[in-house]
């Protein structure tokens, strides 16, 4: 396993570093304190990176959580307060940071992007200007005193020793963060960041994962605050302001959103830079480093929004491409692997004999005054391909969204495998075996083909948060299983050379095949495809028809298909529904349905019919 060395490194660091740093003549007390500050910024940077880089939730007030951690430690360990051991205080810092972040995360369920950013500014101001100044919480203008941590009866008070503590903390957090990104948590965060609707279609509970991102981020920020308090001895509100939070945003964006080494590197770099410059150029330079930092931020975000880490990654891919040349195109006729039901998923409900897989009754969806779907009913029988056609704006995709739960219909019921799922959210319908694709490709485009296949198997690896972070327990076997399924799928699709290519760099047709692969990788009972042939060449569409037949005949799945490509639908569909202006106007044998006058009229208008007469 690739994970074992990290635990070892953390252990070795814990044992070896303290005496090593303590005896090092190079490290003066001042420099050690500076590096301690670097540890604080690195930890806080990791916390913001988790929230913003992984889960895509913008926080411009991260130092509110850091402050909560610092003041918590002061209260728990303080001589005039609870006087508990330092370790307990640090745990409390993490816990309270998590709680406060959870509270801030609650409105985030409702707000996105910039609105959330504004709320976090409000939070950090309310904390630094009010909460942390209050006598009972922040100790008034004097601040709160944090006693040094004790080992046996000896106080760890020298900065060199504290630095060792900070580095151990950082190594442990780095390790946990690495595990996080390799687990279902990290993948779910990425999916939520990329597209919430797509995430839900893979069975990811978007609201819970957003809150989880806040909680974990708050815990790490709380620890950073606790360590900060430990190193400076007295914590004051002035250390946890909006400006500090913005400084952290600089670190994370310049380092590269989502990049651990980038964030930690820039955190230490920006902390050490000022005194380095003073040593090199004399004290006249003081202050210019901040101007330099800000200029670098503006330049980075304008030129390369992925930061230093992104720039390095891009250069590396370019070099690889130059060496290897263009990889051969994958086939448009994939050989779909016949994967069984993932072991962690419960066996699907067997609908009673003769009962349809999907029964939709009288669905109505209103957008303001417009009736987008008006009393539509559809039945999909097991092992069939059912086509859904209709002119643009007929309400096909809206009906799809109502079936999957992406939107709440105003009326009607959806029965799936004999169970009424009308009131279930999307991710629970996905868990019952409802898979879908999107008109505009439902994948996390910045992630690789392989990662997308893992994201798609979110439900197949249902291990706990603890198992994900520690890399121990249930997660090992389950990860092995879904990774092998992903490998098999990639092989079947013929995408071996593209396994680590970001999906966004593939052609539209290739993305579509990956999307279908992702939809099938958990072997859902019902596969709902929204215009899969859109943007495909005629030859590729013919291959798609064969692929769809494979899905039905070889894999034994049931397919509901929205399609504009009439030859394709007539070629594969066992039954056809036609919608126009929100209503189902015809259904039955495909070849029979398309020749009915009402269908012809819907597509070509009434003048055509009159012309025929």
């Amino acid at each position: 396993m690739r994970r074992a060395p990290w635990i070892l490194v953390a252990l070795i660091a814990a044992i070896v570093l303290p005496p090593l740093i303590g005896r090092s003549a190079l490290l003066s007390d001042t420099n050690a304190l500076l590096l301690c500050r670097g540890c604080v910024m690195a930890l806080a940077g990791l916390s913001l990176n988790l929230l913003m880089g992984y889960a895509g939730q913008v926080s411009l007030g991260q130092f509110a959580f850091v402050g909560v951690g610092a003041f918590t430690l002061a209260h728990v360990t303080g001589v005039t307060d609870l006087r508990l051991p330092w370790v307990v205080g640090m745990l409390a810092s993490a816990a309270l940071g998590a709680v406060v972040a959870f509270l801030v995360g609650l409105p985030a369920l409702r707000l996105r992007g910039l609105y959330l950013a504004i709320v976090t500014i409000g939070v950090v101001y309310a904390c630094s200007e009010s909460l942390f100044i209050a006598q009972g919480i922040g100790g008034g203008s004097a601040g709160k005193v944090v006693p040094p941590p004790y080992v046996a009866a000896d106080a760890i008070s020298r900065n060199c020793d504290l630095l060792a503590v900070g580095l151990v903390l950082l190594v442990v957090m780095w390790h946990l963060d690495t595990n996080l990104t390799r687990s279902r948590l990290g993948r779910a965060f990425h999916a939520v960041k990329a597209d919430e609707r797509v995430a839900a279609s893979f069975g990811i509970d978007v609201a819970s994962y957003k809150l989880l991102a806040f909680v974990l981020s708050g815990a790490v920020a709380g620890l950073a605050g606790g360590f900060f308090g430990t190193t400076i001895g007295t914590v004051q509100a002035a250390s946890f302001t909006y400006a500090d939070s913005l400084g952290l945003v600089v670190i994370v964006v310049v380092g590269g959103l989502g990049s651990r080494p980038g964030v930690v590197g820039v955190a230490f770099g920006t902390t050490v830079l000022p005194s380095l410059l003073v040593t090199l150029f004399g004290s006249g330079i003081r202050g210019y480093d901040l101007i330099f930092n800000a200029a670098v931020l503006v330049y980075t975000i304008t030129r390369n929004p992925t930061g230093i880490a992104g720039a390095i990654r891009e250069a590396r891919t370019k070099a690889l491409e130059r060496r290897g040349g263009e990889p051969p195109l994958p086939p448009t006729r994939p050989n779909l692997p016949s994967l069984g039901r993932p072991s962690a998923l419960p066996a699907p409900r067997r609908a009673a004999a003769g009962q349809p897989v999907l029964a939709v009754r009288d669905i109505g969806v209103r957008f303001g005054g417009l009736r987008a779907v008006d009393g539509a009913s559809i039945t999909v029988d097991r092992g069939t391909i059912v086509g859904l056609m209709g002119p643009n704006g007929a309400g096909k995709t809206t009906l799809f969204n109502a079936i999957t739960g992406a939107l709440r219909p105003d009326s009607g019921t959806v029965t799936f495998l004999g169970e009424d799922v009308s009131h279930l959210p999307t991710h629970l319908r996905a868990a019952r075996g409802m898979g879908r694709t999107f008109q505009l490709i439902g994948l996390a485009k910045d992630q690789s083909v392989y990662e997308n296949l893992l994201i798609a198997q979110h439900l197949a690896a249902p291990y706990s948060v603890g198992s994900a972070l520690s890399g121990l327990g249930a997660s090992r076997a389950l990860e092995r299983e879904i990774r092998s399924r992903a490998d098999q799928t990639i092989e079947g699709l013929g995408f071996e050379r593209f396994a680590s290519t970001p999906v966004g760099k593939l052609s539209h047709g290739q993305q579509r095949i990956v999307e279908i692969g992702c939809c099938l990788v958990t072997s859902p009972e019902l596969v709902m495809l929204d215009e899969p042939s859109a943007g495909m060449s005629p030859a590729a569409s013919e291959d798609l028809a064969l692929t769809l037949q494979d899905v039905r005949d070889k894999l034994g799945r049931t397919v509901l298909l929205i399609e504009h490509n009439v030859p394709l639908v007539l070629g594969v569909a066992d039954e056809l529904y036609v919608m126009a202006a929100g209503e189902v106007i015809a259904n039955g044998e495909p070849l029979d349905v398309v020749t009915r006058p009402e269908v012809v009229t819907a597509y070509l208008g009434s003048s055509y019919e009159e012309a025929l007469k």
């Binding site: 504004i118 409000g122 101001y125 600089v250 202050g287 503006v298």
Partner: protein
């Protein structure tokens, strides 16, 4: 009561002016700027230099500050915003954070934490509801109201003005009418900066002194006011600003003596959360009520 009203309107007018700048930039380019307020502080340093150090009349100093502020806004648009067209709005917002840090750090380098003051245009005092107010403060409120309720109809008169109002929402339509988007973008960034400079020039005399970061703090309340007003409505921005000013003044009157610090920020946060989350919940509640009513019928 009168005191709450007067103090509330005076600070609310300033928030409103900042909020107008937020809305202008948002409607013109779809970007939320975090830096705009601080352009006001930087311009105050220019005004202080011209008026205090060079002994020039207030009008000249104010014009100098205005030209400087507009210059910074337009320059940022040219160098950064224009290159980020099509980027995700959060990235562009982070770029404005960079500008904010850039301006603030340069200010700190230039002035340190020295407190400076600039006098206002009108120093006459009036008594309103028994509260002494200066002409400058009254000017701030009147200007906010006039711009909040007049700017929209003024802009509607020309194609270019309409372009400003519609650019972020429907850029293609604006281009088809023959209004160049790049000029719209440069104009709104200049206008947003100008509004910040005006607000800073009018509020500073009432507070007395300023230091780096001065206008940013007030601007953030303006940002909240713009969001409360719906982020796209010019009158809404001013109304949001006045509302926040009044609530803040009321909170100060009732809780000011209780020793709670930073009341302004707590008030703004609470109002912001109530409005934002409430606005999200309202349609859902209404829909739930409607379906229930239908079921009963």
């Amino acid at each position: 009561m009168g005191q709450v009203l007067v103090f509330g309107l005076i600070s609310g007018g300033i928030y409103g002016l900042f909020a107008l700048g937020v809305v202008m930039v948002f409607r013109g380019t779809g970007v939320l700027s975090f830096a705009q307020g601080e352009i006001g502080t930087a311009a105050l340093y220019v005004a202080a230099y011209l008026i205090n150090d060079q002994g020039l009349p207030w009008v000249v100093g104010a014009l100098g500050a205005l030209v400087f502020g507009i210059g910074v806004g337009v320059l940022f648009e040219l160098l950064v915003v224009r290159r980020m067209i099509g980027a995700d709005p959060v990235s562009t917002a982070v770029a404005t954070v960079g500008l904010l840090l850039l301006i603030t750090t340069i200010e700190i380098q230039y002035a340190g934490s020295t407190l400076i003051s600039v006098r206002g245009p009108i120093s006459q005092h009036f008594a309103v509801f028994g509260v002494e107010v200066t002409g400058t403060q009254v000017l701030g409120v009147l200007l906010a109201l006039a711009l909040g309720f007049g700017l929209q109809s003024l802009l509607r008169r020309t194609d270019f003005g309409l372009g400003i109002l519609a650019a972020a929402q429907d850029p293609t339509a604006v281009r088809l009418v023959g209004v160049p988007l790049s000029r719209v973008s440069a104009t709104v960034w200049g206008a947003g900066a100008a509004l910040s400079v005006i607000a800073a020039l009018l509020v500073e005399p009432g507070i007395g002194v300023f230091a780096p970061g001065f206008a940013s703090q007030l601007y953030l309340v303006g940002l909240a006011a713009a969001v409360i007003g719906g982020l796209t409505s010019l009158p809404g921005a001013v109304i949001g600003g006045l509302a926040l000013g009044l609530v803040e003044a009321a909170a100060n009157k009732w809780f000011g003596q209780s020793g709670v610090h930073g009341l302004r920020y707590v008030v703004v946060l609470i109002v912001l959360l109530v409005v934002l989350v409430g606005r999200q919940l309202l349609p859902e509640l209404r829909a739930r009520f409607d379906t229930r009513a239908e079921a009963v019928a």
